[in-house]
Symmetry: D2
Subunit: 332 residues, 4 copies
């Protein structure tokens, strides 16, 4: 198979740390409305998981002075992989930092790196098991988020992101859009057997575009909009249910801080590299297409959806990574 053989094995996007200024306000959104489960909390942090996640956390809320993404984390197949990945990133002159076991509750030793595009990435293997809540009556409430699925980012250099993720980390590109000059405009990359674990859009970065969580069914996407609309988040709905491609359905909402969350459902299984989808696009229509929010159904997306996105932080000092042009005001 054409996927690169690496001395380590990345499994899937395992969790994301989301920065929020008000933990309780964020908890009301992610737990009471999205239906995630609180596993544990410590001062300044609440650890959450989806109802079908058998691990300690899939999404962490961390108190910070500004919204944004702390890091997103890939699970690897063993602790040894952490050493291989540390060596690899040091050789490339990229910032790395070992995170001791327990620094994130329930998690073993981890490695954080800044990738070549400036994003804060974590690798880890061990995490405490937690009870799966799927099918428990008490968790048939709210939007019933099943699990974290992927992260989508803005970057100034999508070609570089493609190169790093496929040739260094061993991801497969399931889909990309490229113009006749060879400039990649967006790329979807995966390790697990779905469309993506991470994706990149060509826009000023490094910034996040959204964090995607998985819902069980298309009708749950519709129901999610109803629950948001009647729970005080009507004006946070940024994009109604639509398709990116023939098998996904998703909608976008801003959390009370401005972080963008995609409620996502897709039914294509990528069991082999044969499912790769390359779209050629001419420069002349590229701008129009990017403004569509990439939809399968037509209708242009609102400008905020096309242009705005949360900042990401440095793995070294937690400062926000600069982005030029500067980050636009969030929809709050």
């Amino acid at each position: 198979m054409s996927q690169l053989t690496t001395p380590f094995s990345i499994l899937y996007t395992g969790h994301v740390e989301v920065r929020v200024t008000d933990l309780e306000r964020a908890r009301a959104f992610y737990v009471d409305t999205l239906g995630m489960v609180e596993t544990e909390r410590e001062p300044g942090k609440i650890y959450l998981r989806g109802i079908d996640e058998p691990f300690h956390h899939g999404l962490t809320l961390r108190k910070a002075d500004c919204y944004g993404i702390g890091h997103h984390a890939f699970r690897v197949s063993s602790n040894d992989d952490l050493d291989s990945l540390e060596r690899l990133h040091k050789e490339k002159g990229l910032p790395t930092r070992k995170i001791p076991a327990g620094h994130e509750k329930g998690q073993g030793e981890a490695l954080r790196v800044e990738d070549p595009m400036g994003f804060p990435i974590e690798f880890y293997h061990e995490m405490d098991r937690a009870e799966g809540m799927m099918g428990k009556a008490a968790y048939k409430r709210g939007i019933e988020v099943m699990r974290i699925d992927h992260v989508t980012n803005y970057t100034n250099d999508t070609n570089k992101a493609f190169e790093y993720y496929t040739s260094v980390l061993g991801f497969s590109a399931t889909s990309y859009l490229v113009n006749e000059k060879g400039e990649m405009k967006r790329v979807f990359l995966r390790r697990k057997q779905t469309t993506h674990d991470v994706a990149f859009l060509q826009q000023p970065g490094p910034r996040n575009h959204h964090v995607a969580v998985w819902l069980k069914n298309e009708s749950d996407i519709i129901r999610a909009c109803d629950i948001l609309a009647t729970s005080g988040y009507r004006d946070k709905v940024e994009l109604w249910p639509g398709r990116h491609g023939p098998t996904s359905l998703s909608m976008y909402v801003r959390d009370p801080e401005g972080n963008r969350v995609e409620l996502y459902h897709e039914d294509r299984l990528f069991t082999g590299p044969e499912y790769q989808h390359v779209q050629k696009i001419s420069s002349s229509v590229e701008d129009t297409e990017m403004k569509r929010g990439f939809p399968f159904w037509g209708m242009p997306a609102p400008r905020s959806y096309i242009e705005e996105g949360p900042p990401v932080e440095s793995i070294i000092d937690g400062s926000l990574k600069p982005s030029n042009p500067p980050i636009l005001a969030p929809m709050v």
Copy 2:
């Protein structure tokens, strides 16, 4: 139009009184799981409504020494209609009883009659308004029953039921099944613009077959099964989601007492008598067809679904009406 002109005007099936031996156990089923709203209670009674019902009650739980149906009630267009209907039934020698305002909380004066097949029927016009809960976040829980829809009964004489409801009360038959000897095997009758307010099946009676409540969408029928299965009612699911005709979807569950509830969704609107549907059936295949539970999709229904049904009570003394052959044991 072919609907009979009557000196009174029946509007729709407005509420049903359900007999239960354990009020709190029944409340856990109808409120906590079906998602109905408790409007008010009094000793021995709890008044419920669906989340889209703007009236005091659509379903009443009444403590009794045995499960069954107390009465089902048609709303009429004015209080004067009650007098017309009382005269009519007295002339026919049928039992009648005036019910003073407030006997049922929130309800004006009412009339109870025993119809020619032995069923306890109530007519009423006035009922207190109550707040509609549709779209309120606090009521986005459980199965989200919207409203009472219809009642289906077993009778020994479906032809007589057809005659009384169409020629005396002014209902339209939207569908019936009749064999070559002119024996009607089932009939669906309506005043509101849907398939039925009441239906009759040819089986030993008078007995009830089920009380039907309305769900908003087909996906809600699927979700209802999940909620029942994870709320302690897995073994009360009697029939999985199926279709009676091309536009309905429903499933059947027994309440903790044995009363049968249909969770129902249908999208055909009967704006005129043109939608009437007559099915001729030969006696030779009649038995096979009746055992199907009348489905559009094939698969025979379980025997309990075909044969069992709750008793109904006398409007005079509340005793249970005899049925021959006797009522089978409920699925408890």
Copy 3:
């Protein structure tokens, strides 16, 4: 009941005549893609019906030199009603015209009037029966439109529309939006037991906003977008699936001419006037709310959806009614 008693009885919106410049191109959209059934054609006209309509036509395509609406038609309960309605409109000095039986194929005698806002309305009672196609395998294709549901119009005087439809024609207003000066901004009016047969929005008129057809289920609205997107109408999708209120789901598409079609599903049944919904709105937020496209879910609608609409024609000479400010260019 509070609905006005009239010497005639309007039943429901029965059909709409849609003007198109290219009959075959329009047929490809309405029949091959929307899934309507062609009942009959004559030079310059194609008569269509939804798969659950038991009548000759619910939507007529008529060749014209410009897109727009020819007329929309209310079915009444008898031919005598046509005479009552003719007298009534003549007394008010409104234009009327008797249409002989057979002028529209399959239809008996009819009456056309221009209502006080300048809209072309037809009343009729008799129409040939046609076979219902619901549940026939050959009609399980395309979007499976079940039936015509309602028409929504732009008018300069929504208060006048409300007055005429309720106090003269006997409609019930199920919902309206009014500011503190008593200016009505939109109103939904019905005779059948659903949200509306006709609605009016306060915008320069007389113009149509959309013709709404009924789909069976919420999942069919999603599927409709897929079928449109893969049938050459991706760029005609104007608004993705969204809710106006807690129980409807719909999306909007332009036909190849520019006429706007709403694919609509709603599950609230209006069995009595109790369901009326009045919204008070302050002038200060009125503009913002109107720009939302009135949604339940947030997200502003595209400008074209808020401002554009097809013209309507005169019942006398078929010329297009002037609208000031002038009609914007359609989205083609």
Copy 4:
């Protein structure tokens, strides 16, 4: 990770060969009604694929004198794996047979073996690419089967099946049911990241229970029943839509020959072995549970569903493998 490391790598269930006595009658079912795509045919065989399968075939219809399963095939990661697997099975004294490239149209060299329970298994790596039809308007028809998903079999020795598939072939058991004596009653085994590629039920075998194909959404399962019911297959519907566990929805239909097809949708992704689900069951309730058809929702399955199943053939001479007690009559 706990999955066994093997000198070969099985990827997923790639295709199934189904025996039919009448190719055209079978084609009408699988292509015209299930919506599969005919890739190619040769005398006695028709090669089909689902609309989201990018390969030559996922299901082959082969003319035979009796219904049943010819073989089911696992795709492996390289042609070298075929030699490893041949050696392995020869060492165990199990029948093997090399199949030259092109014997199945579009397929490279393959290996057939008889597994220890007597089932005909094929391994292959190379197969011609074919156009994916997902999102093409012409394939928005019928039930829109996306791809083959898994095969479920009856065997006399489920413990032996578990041992062979996990310890020899490197599958993971995602779920199994075992009584207090250690007797396994059913087991679900997977290589791809879903619940199963193959499953075994404890019943007289070797026999097939069903072949499962994947539908995109829960609403498509409902729609599938409608299409079957209106396409002449009403009486072939054996089990209405129901859940085995909290995240799957499926229904069962017999093809015109008697082969059982599961129309299946599931939304749990098995990215790691942590999702394994073990159910302990006491012998005393085991029989009751097995009769349920293993559902999550209650309701016993029909006897035919519990007891009947198509035969499988010998990889050596194509004769049907004996099963004791004998195979019951199929539902035809």
